[in-house]
Amino acid sequence: MTELSIHGGANTASARLGRLAIYGALAIFAAFYLMPLAVMVMTSLKDLDDIRTNSLLALPERLTTFAWSHAWNEACIGTECTGLAPYFVNSLVMAIPAVAISTFLGALNGYALTKWRFRGANLIFGLLLFGSFIPFQVVILPMAQTLGFMGLSSSVAGLVLVHTAYGINFTTLFFRNYYVSLPDDLVRAATIDGAGFFTVFWRIVLPLSPSIIVVTVIWQFTQIWNDFLFGASFTSGGSQPVTVALNNLVNTTTGVKMYNVDMAAALIAAAPTLLVYVVAGRYFIRGLTAGAVKG
């Protein structure tokens, strides 16, 4: 016992020093990465005089939410001075159905590909895998034509379709890899019990999937909300998503450059993805640990 504690004592001194170094380094990295965010938040809370006269890193002299409310419903985007609000709604109307549909179809595909290995299942999976490596830029032209044929050009519904189609590759991949480890015997047992394709899916497979659903939702929401290229390519004017509107807001060159409004607008546009991480991330971890205790 005594010997142990002597050794322990000798170790603690150097271990403590090591700890200090590690935490010091981590703090520096954290500060470095948080700096831009901090500058954005501070700038968005300053007024223009403050920004002009004081340093970028200085704390605001007077806190004001002018920039936030201006960005939300007054700022001019192109010629329309409506603020980001309607575009924010566009993005929600685009992202929520697209995330829901692509996640649902991914789950269904993953289930069919792993548990009902039909003829050609591997080929289909190979093609889907291939699809997830196709860059956005390649599909823009054919996609624009397709949307034209379908009468969905320049509409939020069109964007929902594009994002769903483009997202299915990824969601299928996620769910397929998750369902591969789900025992086939479950499906066999349910088949003998008399459950069909969809009953097994609803009653047995989906209830076992919360963690992978959360992962997929986070991924899809981030991708779709943050998308700029599809939004800029396939929509115009009032149907644009918030990312495109943000770009137009920042690039609108009438009068003085309002950095505080730009910053507030950027933060507004980024808020939902942050929120999804904060809210769903917790469920994600909970899902993981719940899975771990399952026998």
Binding site: P183, D185, L186, R188, A189, A190, T191, I192, D193, G194, A195, T199, R203, I204, P207, L208, V293, K294, G295
Partner: protein, 377 residues
């Protein structure tokens, strides 16, 4: 006679180019307990899956209760299956697990509750009904898996190695329980295992399988006493049957086996006369045969034993290895140039290097063709 519960006629299964079942036929009367016994990879689970309808068969015919079910969906075959992994639905309570099959068959709630109560009382799992499978021990999960099958009251039960995930003690307990259950319910069961003790204790008949064919289909006792070939003799019984290379000779009017005794034939040769030799054996006179003798037919020589075994022949041989197991000692000796095992009363066991007097009960002798490995006669 009633229709057979299960008929399998020349069933084949190919996975691509590999043939996994190469023509399996068997017929099962209602109430029989058939065990499919064989080493890993011989096609036991595949055959069970074909009966269940989870995998289509390549050729042949399967009939359940007189009805050909080749094209019938698993849920309509009137079978229930217990999986090696139990395959309990992790998201459902024990009660829901048991009732799922009934629910899928649109059996009303009151009836479901009643049947759950019956089955859970039978299996003594009534106190677990509200739990999730993850909150159960291995043995409890096993019971729930059986409950899920029992509650449906099907024509044929299929068990795929249901006990192999349990520890040794629990396995023996559950084995007894399954046997009791079968007695009590009189159901038809097809049970897969690679544990020959499980097979011997449970089965009314055993199908010994090897590489996609049934080597022998017989009652446990027939299988033990009259193995159809060396494979079955070696697979069934622990320790396995002794296979002693010998020469068949004429011994007066009867036949006898002659072989060398001891390491390098140090003990000279013995000639042991056979009892009731089959006619086919005549053709082997002067030729090599394999003389098969169960270790329990090769015992210590005592006057009492000799009296009990009128066809006992004395055999003096040097002991190579001795393995005491409590009541008896497995005595390893060299006969016909290979190792043979004798089951000797532990109190009369002879030490290594000394000469043991053994008694070979020739009424249990079995002759095999050394080339085809099939039994002679």
């Amino acid at each position: 006679m009633a229709a057979s519960a299960l008929d399998i006629r020349d069933v084949r299964k190919d996975f691509g180019a590999t043939s996994v079942l190469k023509g399996v036929s068997l017929s099962l009367a209602p109430g029989e307990f058939l065990v499919l016994l064989g080493p890993s990879g011989c096609g036991k689970s595949t055959l069970l899956n074909m009966i269940a309808g989870l995998d289509p068969i390549t050729a042949g015919e399967i009939a359940i209760d007189g009805r050909v079910v080749n094209q019938v969906h698993p849920k309509d075959r009137d079978i229930a299956m217990v999986f090696q992994s139990y395959a309990l639905y992790p998201n459902m309570s024990v009660a829901k697990n048991i009732a799922f099959g009934l629910e899928m068959r649109h059996i009303d709630r009151a009836e479901r509750e009643r049947r759950i109560a019956d089955v859970s009382a039978l299996l003594q799992i009534d106190h677990l009904l509200k739990r999730k499978p993850s909150q159960l021990s291995g043995g409890q999960r096993q019971r729930v898996a059986m409950g899920r099958a029992l509650v449906r009251d099907p024509k044929v039960f299929l068990f795929d190695e249901p006990l192999s995930n349990l520890d040794a003690k629990l396995r023996v307990d559950m084995r007894t329980e399954i046997k009791k259950l079968h007695r009590r319910l009189g159901t038809t069961i097809v049970y897969v295992t690679h544990d020959q003790i499980e097979a011997m204790t449970l089965a009314t008949r055993i199908a010994v399988m090897r590489a996609g064919v049934i080597e022998q289909l017989a009652t446990p006792q027939q299988l033990y006493d009259e193995p159809a070939n060396m494979y079955v003799g070696g697979f069934v019984g622990s320790p396995p049957m002794n296979f002693i290379p010998a020469t068949l000779v004429e011994n007066g009017s009867a036949l006898a086996v002659r072989f060398a005794v001891g390491p390098q034939g140090a003990g000279g040769e013995v000639t042991l006369p056979l009892v009731d030799t089959p006619a086919a054996a005549r053709g082997y006179v002067g030729k090599p045969v394999v003389f098969g003798l169960r270790p329990d037919a090769l015992t210590d020589f005592s006057d009492a034993e000799a009296m009990l075994r009128p066809h006992g022949q004395r055999l003096d041989v040097e002991v190579d290895v001795l393995e005491p197991t409590g009541a008896e000692a497995l005595t390893y000796v060299t006969l016909g140039g290979t190792t043979a095992i004798a089951r000797v009363n532990a109190r009369r066991a002879v030490d290594v290097g000394e000469t043991a007097s053994l008694l070979a009960d020739m009424s249990h002798a079995r002759l095999f063709d050394p080339d085809s490995e099939q039994a002679i006669g």
